[in-house]
Every structure is written in structure tokens, then in C-alpha cells.
């Protein structure tokens, strides 16, 4: 246990001054800001009429300028945008040791290799939960400034449950990214993997089989796929959890057993 705490302390020192930490918060904050602009335009029929593509999307999605739509946008941003941003965080947390050249300094220490990886997973979870929470707070701030109507306790309660469940799903599906960072010894392989999962998540979800594809499931759960959410079942969640566990086991096993020649 002491080794785990020490590994976590070391990981916190490493990330405390990392510029990328703030970059991810700023990048992810674009979602509630864009959602806020969305709401602002929709409250102005003249502006909405001029925004052709947006106008079409609004009609298709039945979006109105209220808390229900805004919280829905925030949740969908976690389910889809989260795959990208959380994937970026995982790529950085696990891949940086290779780009910094420090991976070799983590392999022959009294703190076990598994403790070091677990500390990284904990940092990844805290970081992503921080991003989710930060977006929610920014969202509430923007929604309050815009004086969006129809905010009720039951609405908030429902959306908070969906929001944080979506966030959790998006976080847990990030474990294979850690494996690709360690296997590929840097950022390139995990970022490539994130891009591929994002593309396939969209394509497979569009074909109607997203409920069997782990990286589509958070997006579908968030409501981004509309009625496809109803297709999610026990098997879908099992696939998501098993993929996450497999990613974790593969990462730790590879880090412990593979030859480290870089």
C-alpha cells in the first residue's frame, strides 16, 4: 500500500506543472461554450434562420433553448468528445515516459511496476473526472447567465446520473489506450488508436450495431444516437467492462513482462 501511495505522489509531482493539463481543460471547455452559443442563437429566430446548417440540425434534433437541451448537449459531448479528449489524456499519461525518455528509470525500483501503472490509471481517472466536472460547472454557469428556462430538480438529477455514468463509461474504455502507449512506446500509437476508435464508433453506431462496439456505447448511452440508446442491453455493458478489464490486464502484463529496450 505504501508503494502505491508513493507512486501516486510521484505521479502527482510529474503532472502538477504539465502544460498539457490546462490545454485539455481549455479544449474540453469548448463543448459547454459551443453549447451555450447554440442556445444563444436558438433564442434569436433571426440569427437561427441565417445559420443554415445549424437550423437544419436543430430541426432534426428537436432542440430548444432550455436546460433539457443544454444538459443533453453536455452529456453527448462527454460520450463522444470524451472518447477523444480522455483518449488524449491517456495517451499523454502513459506515453510521456517514452517521449521524455524516462521510462527506463521506472523499471528497476522498489516501487513495483504494477504500482507505477496503477498510479497512472488513478491520475487518468482523476484527470478525466476533473474534466467532466469542470465542463458541468462551466455549463451550469453559462446556462445560468443565459437564463435558460425549465430547470427542475428532477431534470438535474436525471441528467447528472446520465452525465456521470457516460463519463465513467468513457473513462473505463480508455484502458486499451494505455496498452497502445506502452506497446508503441510513445504517443503515436495510442493517438492513432483513439482516432480509429472515434471513426469506427461513428460508423458502427450509424449502421445500428453500436451497442456491440465498446467505443460507441458511451455515445449511445449519452443519447447522441437518439432512439439507438434503447438497444443498449446487458451484453453491451458487459462488452464495455470486459474491454476495459482486458485493456488494463494487457497494459500491466506487457509492462511487467515485455523486454524494455527503449
Amino acid at each position: 500500500m505504501s508503494g502505491q501511495v508513493q507512486a501516486l505522489k510521484a505521479e502527482l509531482i510529474k503532472n502538477k506543472y504539465s502544460t498539457i493539463l490546462w490545454v485539455t481543460f481549455i479544449a474540453f471547455a469548448l463543448a459547454p461554450i459551443m453549447g451555450g452559443i447554440f442556445m444563444l442563437i436558438m433564442r434569436d429566430p433571426e440569427a437561427l434562420a441565417k445559420a443554415g446548417a445549424l437550423h437544419t440540425k436543430v430541426q432534426v434534433m428537436h432542440i430548444v433553448a432550455d436546460w433539457n437541451s443544454y444538459l443533453g448537449i453536455l452529456t453527448q459531448a462527454i460520450g463522444i468528445g470524451g472518447v477523444l479528449v480522455f483518449g488524449f489524456v491517456a495517451s499523454w499519461v502513459f506515453g510521456r515516459e517514452y517521449s521524455d525518455g524516462t521510462a527506463k528509470d521506472l523499471l528497476a525500483l522498489p516501487t513495483s511496476r504494477a504500482n507505477i501503472l496503477n498510479a497512472k490509471f488513478i491520475i487518468y481517472i482523476i484527470w478525466c473526472m476533473g474534466l467532466a466536472l469542470s465542463n458541468l460547472l462551466i455549463g451550469f454557469f453559462i446556462g445560468t447567465i443565459l437564463q435558460l428556462p425549465s430547470l427542475t430538480m428532477s431534470l438535474v438529477s436525471t441528467y447528472l446520473t446520465t452525465y456521470f455514468t457516460t463519463a465513467l463509461m468513457t473513462i473505463v474504455i480508455g484502458t486499451p489506450i494505455a496498452f497502445f502507449a506502452i506497446w508503441g512506446k510513445g504517443y503515436l500509437a495510442p493517438l492513432g488508436f483513439v482516432s480509429l476508435t472515434l471513426v469506427f464508433a461513428q460508423i458502427i453506431a450509424a449502421t445500428g450495431y453500436g451497442y456491440y462496439f465498446p467505443w460507441s456505447i458511451p455515445g449511445l448511452f449519452s443519447g447522441a444516437g437518439g432512439e439507438y440508446k434503447a438497444q443498449l442491453n446487458g451484453l453491451s455493458y458487459s462488452i464495455l467492462v470486459l474491454t476495459s478489464i482486458a485493456g488494463y490486464i494487457a497494459t500491466v502484463t506487457f509492462w511487467k513482462l515485455a523486454d524494455h529496450s527503449k
Binding site: Q6, A10, K14, T102, L107, L109, T111, S261
Partner: protein, 300 residues
């Protein structure tokens, strides 16, 4: 008990044999220098010793214990493998704090002590990315030495250091060995190994081709007397007539290999003066480690 003992280590990477049947031992308090060309297998062996690479065959014993995933004595070992990198956005102190935590140390003074010992005090709050190459090397050594290990495994420890830094690190390593630490180091600066090591191993194409102590090495280095006179052909005639094994080298100087000549070079001067062929210079030439090393790998 040997601090390091390897038995018939073999490691292949695809079709390449990185290390081939390497058996070495390093005794307590010994400085063992490891020589080899780039790609000879030095770093692979160092990584095998640190458990970073698993050998295909053979075994490693550290402090008398088998190196395995259950090996626990990592705080008795300090290491520096290849270029010493650090977290670029962290200061020297913060970089050391990372390893202070990972090594689970309990005395915060060790950070200040090692910073002072490696003369990093003026740079301790600077980010690692702005450090000079020499100071990055010092930071790498600080990480390796912070916990006062019993065994140091160092890959090119003086790379990037200025002459003053080289002398400081050399003295530091000698002090550590005097205090009982065991040091295993590789370097391409062969003269440096000669100044530091008690024993030297030469690796070539993955094989350990020679292992010898520094006195043994000094015996094996070619020594000869070089003589230069205004008329070397005549001088050569006189010298061979007096049973000296003398030849003209490619610089048209006289080389003499006799033990007697090496022991009493003054007799050569006396002889040449008597023969009216006074020498302009007479000096003892000793083959350096670099030449010895190249001669050794070329004959294998």
C-alpha cells in the same frame, strides 16, 4: 559473495545475437569497466542486469540472489542507462522528489545532500529542459546516487561532462568504491576506464572476448623505446650490432622492444653518444587502452 554474477547470458533480437554466452562476476568494492564498440552489447547487458530485458538463456545473480520479478533489493542499486533524461518541465529538485518517492525514502535531506555533492545547488530550481548537457548528466547521476546504493550500474557516466566534471565524477566514484560500493560501468572513453577500473571486460559482437585486471592490462600493453637521432640508419646499425631488437618505424624513428632497453634506456643514450650518433630524443612509448582495445578486437 559476488555482487554481480552472470552465467552464460544469451539474448537474441530477431536474427541478431545481442549478447552471447556472457559470464562475468564483480566483487564487492570493485570498479568493473566494460568496453565495447557501439552495438557490441554493452547496453543490452546493462538492461539485463537491471531486469529490463529478459535473457533467452542464462541467469543473473545480484547480491547472491537470483534476479527475478520477486527481486526486492532495488534500493541497493543505483543506475544510469544511456542518455540520462529527466522530466523537462520539472526542476532539478522536483525531478529528484519523483525518485525520492518511487524509492520510498524517508530522509528528505538526501535530496539536498546529493544536489550539493554533484554541484547542482545553483541549478536546483531550474527546469530540467534548460540544463546544459553536463548538468543533465549530473542530474542523472544524482538520481542514481541519491539513495547511497551498494551497487552502481552506470552506462557512459561521464558523457557530456566538461573536464572539471569528469575529474569530479571520477573522484566521486573512486570515493564510493573506497567506501565499499561496487561499480559496474561502461564507457567509450577508454582512458577513463583505465583510470577508474580495477578490472576490465571487453565485449565485441556480443561476446566477452577478454577480461583482465588493470595490472594485467598494463603488462599486456605494448611498451617500446623510441629513439630519434640525426642519422637513424647509422644508429640502427650500432644498436642491432649490440643485440638490441631495433627497427625503423613508419615515421623513420627507431623502435626498440628489448626488456633490457625498457629497463635501462640510459644505456642506449650512452652507446649512441659513444658512437658519435647522439640521440635527439629517447622516450618510452606505452600503447594506450584505445590501441589495445582495437588490437584485441581485431585479433578475435
Amino acid at each position: 559473495m559476488e555482487i554481480i554474477k552472470t552465467h552464460s547470458l544469451i539474448k537474441h533480437f530477431g536474427n541478431t545475437t545481442a549478447i552471447d554466452d556472457i559470464s562475468i562476476h564483480v566483487n564487492p568494492g570493485e570498479i568493473y569497466g566494460f568496453l565495447g564498440l557501439n552495438g557490441a552489447g554493452k547496453t543490452t547487458l546493462i538492461r539485463v542486469l537491471l531486469g529490463m530485458i529478459k535473457p533467452d538463456q542464462g541467469s543473473v545473480m545480484l547480491f547472491g540472489k537470483q534476479l527475478s520479478p520477486r527481486f526486492k533489493q532495488w534500493n541497493d542499486i543505483g543506475y544510469l542507462v544511456e542518455t540520462p533524461y529527466a522530466y523537462p518541465n520539472l526542476s532539478v529538485v522536483e525531478n529528484l522528489k519523483v525518485y525520492y518517492n518511487l524509492r520510498q525514502l524517508n530522509d528528505p535531506h538526501v535530496i539536498d545532500d546529493i544536489i550539493e555533492k554533484l554541484k547542482l545547488t545553483n541549478h536546483k530550481d531550474k527546469k530540467a529542459k534548460v540544463l546544459s548537457l553536463g548538468n543533465q548528466q549530473r542530474l542523472g547521476l544524482a538520481k542514481a546516487l541519491m539513495h547511497q546504493p551498494k551497487l552502481l550500474i552506470l552506462d557512459e557516466p561521464i558523457n557530456g561532462l566538461d573536464p572539471e566534471g569528469i575529474v569530479e565524477v571520477r573522484e566521486l566514484l573512486k570515493d564510493l568504491a573506497t567506501q565499499g560500493s561496487t561499480i559496474f560501468l561502461s564507457s567509450h572513453i577508454l582512458g577513463e576506464i583505465n583510470k577508474l577500473a580495477h578490472r576490465i571486460g571487453i565485449i565485441h559482437q556480443g561476446k566477452l572476448i577478454k577480461e583482465l585486471t588493470t595490472p594485467e592490462l598494463n603488462k599486456q600493453l605494448i611498451k617500446k623505446i623510441i629513439v630519434d637521432t640525426p642519422d637513424n640508419k647509422t644508429a640502427l646499425h650500432y644498436l642491432t650490432a649490440h643485440q638490441y631488437q631495433a627497427v625503423l618505424n613508419h615515421n623513420h624513428e627507431i623502435e626498440i622492444l628489448n626488456d633490457e632497453a625498457l629497463a635501462h634506456p640510459e644505456n642506449i643514450s650512452t652507446l649512441l653518444v659513444e658512437k658519435n650518433c647522439p640521440p635527439k630524443q629517447v622516450y618510452l612509448f606505452t600503447e594506450d587502452l584505445e590501441m589495445y582495445f582495437l588490437r584485441t578486437i581485431r585479433t578475435k
